[in-house]
């Protein structure tokens, strides 16, 4: 069983969100084949890869009933996917509002559990760091590192409930010491909207820890052009 990692990368928010997953999650997956980055973050590659996976992780734009990939190509939409794509899987969608309808629908169609957000996922990023989004520790890292902490817990084999708790604690810890009122408001907002539906005890096969070279050396700059940079 592999991981499906769907990473849209075409504008500032997708660059920032996917950048943090590229930096800290992708290297843990030992190049498992189903990394759908950029142009590959579309419906057909997802349809082919998802049934073989035990975990689906997505970063992209969304709405209450839809999660999208590159250039907002629809990947999962309520009532328009095969239940085999989600059956028995742990799913995490870093996207806006999917927690309202799509996340419960995924569980109703057989996902072991699914996590998302019931309102917009909002954060502050430094757009001067668009080519190296993982270097944006002053702004984006405050909101996105809690997501990484939660995903790392899942990849360590912890339960979905434990992983979400780790994400929530990480938001709280960052908010407590945050001096920038806007960043703090975003942390508290995202924390309040994070949800888990389904079996909180669900877990996946533990993946190896991030190898030392990847901890020390970031990826090369992302040179693909994006909207708004």
């Amino acid at each position: 069983m592999s991981t499906v990692l769907s990473l849209a990368d075409f504008d500032l928010p997708t660059r920032s969100a996917s950048g943090w997953l590229l930096r800290w999650i992708l290297p843990r997956l030992n190049l498992e084949p189903a990394t759908l980055y950029g142009l590959l973050a579309r419906r057909l590659p997802f349809q082919m890869a998802a049934p073989q996976s035990d975990i689906i992780i997505g970063a992209g734009h969304g709405d209450i009933d839809v999660f999208t990939g590159q250039n907002e190509a629809i990947i999962l939409e309520v009532g328009k996917y095969d239940p085999k794509e989600v059956e028995g899987k742990v799913i995490k969608l870093l996207s806006c509002q999917c927690g309202v309808e799509l996340v419960p629908d995924l569980v109703a169609n057989g996902a072991a559990c699914a996590m998302g957000y019931t309102d917009d996922y909002i954060w502050v990023m430094d757009s001067d760091l668009a080519s190296t989004p993982w270097a944006d520790k002053e702004f984006a890292g405050k909101c996105l590192m809690p997501v990484i902490d939660g995903l790392n817990a899942l990849l360590d084999g912890k339960s979905a409930r434990a992983a979400l708790d780790i994400e929530l604690e990480s938001y709280s810890r960052n908010a407590e010491v945050e001096e920038d009122e806007l960043v703090k408001a975003c942390l508290e907002f995202n924390r309040a909207n994070a949800i888990l539906v389904g079996n909180g005890g669900a877990s996946i096969r533990a993946r190896p820890q991030l190898a030392l070279p990847f901890r020390l050396i970031p990826p090369p700059p992302l040179l693909f052009p994006i909207v708004g940079a």
Partner: protein, 84 residues
């Protein structure tokens, strides 16, 4: 000049009154106070992962304009920053 924390509270009060013009003014003063305090990165931008034609990325120094001129942005930023 008031501190950025005080200006932020005035901004939140304006949001609670649903007074977008006062909120925009208060946010401008908040940014000026932050600058005077030597805070802020090179190009902070507020972003969100919502599908469609609405806002996706707004530089923080353009937030006051967004509050004044874009009702969708105003509703969105109000939900995030209004506080309790």
């Amino acid at each position: 000049m008031a501190s950025s924390k005080e200006e932020w509270e005035r901004y939140q009060e304006a949001l609670r009154r649903d007074d977008s013009a006062a909120a925009a003014d208060a946010f401008r003063r908040y940014l000026a106070a932050k600058k005077a305090e030597g805070k802020g990165g090179s190009k902070p931008t507020i972003v969100r992962l919502h599908i469609g034609k609405g806002w996706h990325a707004v530089p923080v120094d353009q937030i006051p304009n967004g509050i004044e001129k874009n009702p969708e942005f105003y509703e969105s930023i109000k939900r995030v920053t209004e506080g309790k």
